[in-house]
């Protein structure tokens, strides 16, 4: 019975031992070697008698980091990913909550790991030393027994997201949730042994879960694309072309930038057959540039917060989307139920806005070491009064259109009252992003003065924006102030840093 993710690896290593599993610009690893390295990591933890314990992985983004994750999983423990470039204060806050039993690191980050071990008392495990150690028969038997004890509701990973109070929240995801997600993704997008993934998402960002576990499940190849290629998009396209990458799951900012630069004509990436995106709103205008260039490829918009295991809805582009439309987030993933609840906690009618709530095996167990936050976000389904049934309230506002597709409207906390009108800031942003010349934009509400402030980057002047927006939006939704920026502040995940922009709003004197 399939119930833990390490079974994926055992199966793929048996079926395709010589096939390239992981590549990262420095190394290429076959499935046989992938399994061998993961087993060594598992052995290191089993030898220390660790079971159901937290393990922090502090390693460069690499093929061996993926082997480390599977190794931790196989040993019956669970991991969190610490970004090697994360500011130390944030790392400390995470470790304060996570309290790892071990920190697994590579040679390059050993110094940093050592100082962390001193402050949190975890074991220090070096990846290179651990995969060099031999496994005797007794230990191998112990590993087998440990793996046999794991059940599908045991934790696989904990990913930390930024909490509004500044204390990171660790979202707890089980084997069962990842299997549920991976099976859905493989079936829905036709992922198989011939799939060649080009991974962009950092491993501390849950989009990478699709890349990693779909690859391992299908015995496919996962290219961990060297980060620098994302600074130089033409190099990125060349990397895709030269490695025959046929499937990508990237954030919209990367896809939009390539579209805006007009370089899709300069490098033949017709090898790309599946282009998935999530994490932010994908502007239709830039999406259409891609579709025009790759008319045969599948394009899909995925949506979901970390708390429901990467994604809970998806939309495979199946019709022409006008530049001014917002790309639907579509339909619930298989084995996932979506409830759109209005302010009275009743199901919203077609066209009526409500909060998107999720029910299913994909639900996180909550926030690690944080029962208060867990109880606030994972609540009893208000439509069910007869037995315990949890839903997750996303805080995202959506509605159903006439086609029955779910349309994303914005964050519950981005709904503002402006000159007496209730406004979804996301709606303004969608309109702005349809204007030619706009690269990125973010709209905020300045409460003190009741003004809508638009921040944007691109090749267009603010007077022009107002003129063109007047055709698309009612007058009360037109930004009062348009601020052109040379750069859009981005957070660690490459999303627009709204908090930072909010902070800079007080400097506006208009």
């Amino acid at each position: 019975m399939l119930h833990i993710v390490s079974q994926y690896l055992h199966t793929s290593a048996e079926l395709y031992p010589e096939h390239i599993a992981l590549a990262d610009g420095k190394r290429k690893i076959s499935y046989a070697d992938f399994l061998a390295e993961a087993e060594c990591i598992a052995a290191g933890l089993v030898r220390r008698k660790r079971f159901k314990k937290p393990v922090a992985v502090l390693m460069d983004k690499s093929a061996q980091a993926v082997a480390a994750f599977l190794g931790v999983a196989m040993s019956g423990n669970f991991y969190t990913v610490i970004d090697t470039k994360m500011p130390e204060t944030r790392v400390e806050k995470i470790l304060d909550t996570f309290r790892p039993a071990a920190i697994l690191t590579d040679r390059k980050n050993a110094k940093k790991a050592e100082s962390l071990v001193d402050s949190c008392g975890a074991d220090l495990m070096s990846y290179e030393d651990t995969i060099g150690a031999s496994i005797d028969e007794g230990l191998r038997e112990e590993m087998k027994q440990a793996e046999a004890r794991i059940i599908d509701t045991d934790i696989l990973y904990v990913l930390f997201t930024s909490g509004s109070t500044g204390i990171p929240k660790g979202v707890i995801i089980t084997h069962r949730s990842v299997i549920d997600y991976t099976e859905w993704a493989s079936e829905t997008f036709g992922l198989d042994h011939d799939t060649v993934f080009g991974n962009q998402a950092p491993f501390y960002f849950d989009n990478s879960v699709l890349d990693i576990y779909s690859a391992v499940r299908n015995g496919a190849t996962l290219h961990v694309i060297p980060q620098m290629n994302f600074a130089f998009p033409i190099r990125l396209l060349e990397y895709v072309r030269d490695n025959g990458i046929n499937t990508v799951f990237w954030v919209p900012t990367v896809l939009s930038r390539i579209a805006d630069m007009g370089i899709l004509d300069k490098c033949d990436v017709s090898c790309l057959k599946k282009v998935l995106f999530a994490g932010e709103v994908m502007p239709a205008r830039q999406l259409n540039v891609w579709i025009k260039k790759l008319p045969e490829a599948l394009f899909a918009n995925l949506y979901g917060p970390t708390e429901i295991t990467v994604d809970c809805t998806y939309y495979i582009v199946d019709r022409e989307i006008s530049d001014k439309e917002s790309v639907p987030i579509g339909y619930p993933c298989m084995n996932t139920d979506i409830l759109v609840l209005n302010e009275k906690n009743e199901p919203a009618a077609t066209g009526e806005k409500g909060e998107l709530c999720v029910r299913g095996s994909s639900l996180a167990l909550g926030y690690y070491n944080n029962p208060e936050k867990t109880e606030a976000a994972f609540v009893q389904n208000p439509l069910n009064t007869t037995y315990r049934e949890l839903i997750y309230r996303t805080g995202d506002i959506v509605h159903y259109n006439e086609r029955g597709e779910i349309i994303y409207d914005g964050r519950a906390d981005s709904q503002v009252k402006h000159t007496g009108h209730r406004i979804e800031l996301g709606e303004i942003e969608t309109a702005v992003s349809s204007l030619p010349g706009i690269a990125m934009n973010c709209c905020l509400h300045k409460i003190e003065t009741d003004q809508l402030v638009l921040y944007y980057t691109g090749d267009i002047e603010s007077e022009e924006i107002r003129i063109e927006l007047a055709v698309l939006l009612p007058e009360y939704m037109l930004p009062n102030i348009c601020v052109k920026l040379a750069q859009m502040p981005l957070n660690m995940n490459g999303k627009i840093d709204r908090l930072k922009l909010r902070g800079s709003m007080s400097d506006l004197t208009v």
Partner: protein
């Protein structure tokens, strides 16, 4: 004269983007990890804005960002297009 001026401006931009680094110490900003992908986006936007140029996507390659000299050359080349 004008070229030197350009270099000074570029130097100031780099300092603004990554105040923690001493760019004069490096002869390859990319290899030395002083500019990440966000920084390159920021810098190209700043260059386009400040010098009124449009940088071709094909020119956004590592070798054009190694040193202040190569960035200045990129600006010159982009201005001619």
């Amino acid at each position: 004269m004008e070229q030197n001026n350009e270099r000074v401006i570029i130097g100031e931009m780099l300092k603004e983007i990554r105040p923690e680094f001493d760019f004069s110490e490096s002869d390859n900003f990319v290899e030395d990890g002083m500019l990440d992908s966000f920084d390159i986006i920021t810098l190209t936007n700043m260059l386009e804005e400040r010098f009124g140029i449009k940088i071709d996507g094909l020119d956004i390659v590592p070798e054009n960002f190694y040193t202040v000299g190569s960035i200045a050359e990129l600006v010159r080349k982009s201005g001619e297009k």
